[in-house]
């Protein structure tokens, strides 16, 4: 394993650990806003580290550009989604249809 592969491995493992942190936060944190806080780490940093690791591994500028584009778009989507869902979680006053399990906050 050469130095580049070692760097890629490091980045991939670090990225996975951020995804793990996101999942643990999603499962363990007490309310929707805290959970949102946890999962944005996985969204932003985890995906960035995995993309960087894969970019190092791919060794082609075109592939690296594609990975960068994926990450930038993921940031855009995650920002908008997180903002919208957080607003919904704050203003949550609509239970689900009756006859279902309660879905109030």
């Amino acid at each position: 394993m050469n130095a580049l592969e070692g760097l890629a491995a490091l980045l991939l493992v670090a990225g996975s650990s951020f995804f793990l942190a996101g999942t643990v936060g999603l499962l363990r944190f007490p309310d929707a806003l805290s959970r949102l806080h946890a999962l944005t780490k996985a969204d932003n940093v985890g995906l960035l580290l995995i993309c960087s690791g894969l970019g190092v591994l791919a060794g082609s500028l075109q592939t690296a550009g594609m990975l960068l584009l994926v990450w930038l778009l993921a940031m855009l989507a995650a920002t908008v989604s997180a903002h919208l869902i957080a607003g919904r979680a704050l203003a949550d006053d609509t239970p689900e249809l009756p006859g279902e399990q309660d879905d109030t906050p």
Binding site: A9, S16, L47, C51, D93
Partner: protein, 99 residues
Amino acid sequence: MTVLLPAVVVFLLLNLVAGLWRVYTGPSAADRMLSALLFGSTTVAILLLLAQWQDSPALRVAALLFVMLAAITSIAFVAMVQGGAARRQPATRANGTKS
């Protein structure tokens, strides 16, 4: 690398399985949407890893499509809530803080 890439894929898949618990229990609709959001980015990461491991560049395009369109469901989710609330109580958003 031929071992690490699939190992990371398995690890991320196990993360997804664990995250399913949050989709199942909720309790609020926003919680379920949040989990779907995390699932989306994890799936994209797995697709990118598979693209490298299986030497299939087209999977990167599939990952690109997922991230590009990921926000659409969230916007529909919020539109749904606002529409549903507005229909019964037109002024509900004006002081729409958590009760």
